[in-house]
Amino acid sequence: MNGKFAALLTVGGLTLSVAGLPAQEPGRFQVTPAFGVMRFDRTSALSSSKAGLSRLWGYGSLSALYRVTSGFRAGLYVEGGRATADAFYYPLVLLRYSQTYKLDSLSQRVVVLSYGLAATYDLPLGGKLGPYLRAGVGRHSVFPDVQHTGSTNSVTGAEFSLGGGMGYKTGGGGLVRLELVDNMWSKWDRDRLNPTALAYQNTVFPEDNPDGVGWAKPSIIHNIRFMLGFTFTPSGGGTQ
């Protein structure tokens, strides 16, 4: 198993441990596992291709938020999924065999993990439907394929998230959430996920390189996450 991916599980376990402390503050913690899809920024190399349509990846998250006031909660979150660094954004692989050149395109599967602090604020509308706003700050880590890169290094940077959702109260204190969040990554450099070493990147036939090689690299990219989650209070009590 990828050693760094084990960290994902570890962080998940820690989150559960935090969630497993309800006896100290009964009813004040909310734990929300959620599943959905992620559409990474078109320039990120993780979600878009020359086809023009965004590619959606399965994504999961887990958050544990502490009720600070009646409508305001803050806590930890961890999210993750798996994506592909598309070959459309990288120079072709150029191999020379004596008097001939051979060109190949190469993609790479990666694991994406983000984590940090999150806060939500419930908008006071009343009833079973409750809209809320969500914001967060944390880090993102993208783990390349060790067998491609020959390295266990990851690509890490800051993450800022902003979004909101709608919750539907169910019986027993539960809550079903539908959430749309923009996970913003700063100083993202897609070239760090290029699976091809510099010496083997095609510079001899530049016309053959995909157009995405020349695409812009904004300083902040926007990754849109859409998820469905189930919120519960581990202590079994408490109110929303």
Binding site: Y97, D104, L106, E207
Partner: protein, 609 residues
Amino acid sequence: MRFARLVILGPLVLASWAACSHNEAPTAVTRGGAVSASSIDMLASGLNTPGGTRAVNKFVLSSFDTSVTDAFGRATTNPPHFIADPNGYYGSTPLYLGVGANVGTYTTPNILLPALVDADTVESYNPYGTTAAVTYIVPGGHPGNGGANSWEFWYVLHHLIPGQRYIFGLVRYVLVQRGTLDWSEMLQTGAITQPDSLVFAPADFNPAGNKADDNGYILDCTNPAEGVPVAGANPYFIAGKTAGATSHRVIIDHTVCSDPAWQDGFGGPKSPVGANNAPPTSSQYNFLVVWKAKADSTPDYTQPVWREQIAPVLRAPGQLANNGYAPIPTAALTAAQLVLKPGGVGRADSVKFTATKLMTLAPGAVYQTWLQISGTTTAQKVTGRVIRLKDATVVDTLTGVSEFTLSGGANSARVEFAFAPYDSVAHYDMATLTVASPGGTTLPASQPYWGGGLQKAATKTGSLSLAATFGSFNGGTNTLIWGATGWGAGGLFDNELREVLYRLARPPRGYEYEAWLLNSTDTTKKVDLGSLEALPPSNASLVDADTMSGLPLSGAEITQSGFRDVASDPTYYCSYDLVEVLLRPKVAVPTTVPPTVVLKGTNARVGCP
């Protein structure tokens, strides 16, 4: 709680499984069924780089500046008389031969004071039947000497006074100058109006050494009879000898052991004689003198009969007299010789400017020759004679023209003109061959050939012939010399030829690079692939790379460029075994293959019939 943990851990386990699986495989890029490209590597060739010469018949002397250090260019570690023995006694290793040449007899110069007595009769000669007069100073360690630590002094003088005793000695003289320094005056005029005097410095007179008869050729520094240096001696006596009653001559062949205090001079380390480009140290000497001896065997310093300058004369101990290098000259240099010396100031009398690897220009363009003052805007178009050449063969000659084109297969041209009329207008120092519009009267921007040195300034070296330079003269400001540089990589991918070129030199102003397909054995097979381009995505034309300022131009080079060609069928390229990048004037006749090869690659013609 169990349900909650199941909800959380279940997906995580599934995710971990998914994270570890991968099955990506490279996807081959193909073109027209071809899965690989045949490589063509291009390397800098440097074949047929344009050049030429700037020649002048002579320089006309306008003045001579004796204040310039070594104005006559006579300072060398060894004096001119440090030569191989023409008699052959000492093999081919140089030694100091006072007569300086292969002459039967020799009379020492009598220019300085104290004047030599009997100088019109005393001379050196060779009593052994060979040709060169015997006046040897043989360095220690010389293979013909044989003494690793001994210097040998071997002199034969005749026409001396029978029974008169003579003393040989090494002296460190300083100068009393009267009027012009005798060395400078002699080299410029061939005569001396007021002779300078050689004297001992007041605190540097300490006679010592051997005044007895020479004790022969010993080469044994453990033998007390060997000549032994005396620290600080001036003069240092080598030996004495009395002229034969009937032979009227003296012969000395005396060895002197090296002194640890001696410094590098001529002939190697530990020399009693100072180097001819530095003042002798306190233990070294600059003249060898033979005096008449008094009755008590001491030299009569007012009656020298023989004097050789072997190192620079001094103004004071340790202070070299500029231009006073050995040996003292006995004749004047010609004006043509003087102007070429470091102190010479003058100008060219005429100019012959030859440019090679020229191309025939299209109508509307001509070659013009201009004179310029480097770094200024002062310039003047030249009218003269133009000899059009095909390699070294004259095609024809044009007279009284200020511009020309090529014809009759000519590929070079020589422009000849008198320089004085132009020098009277301004002191032009540079001749340039330009590419211009017919009848143009302003200095063209394209100045690809140039040759300087038309003015000979003091301290500068004057050269009658110089290689012309090719590149962008730019009036002498931001001048760029062009040379074939860079490399290329690429090849044939199905029906496409592509090359990426790296670090080509910026083409000379008015020139461009072109890619060509050629056949090494059939010159009729040639295809002009056009100018180079910037790399994708811009693919900008580099026709104007000579003046562009943005990327891919960076200073003096094109960092990256390339060319492409697409044929209807891959077999099209089977007719060409060469892929070359060539350099040409933008206004050259387009159908001609440019002569200058910048990059050259070979098409292996893989898969060709």
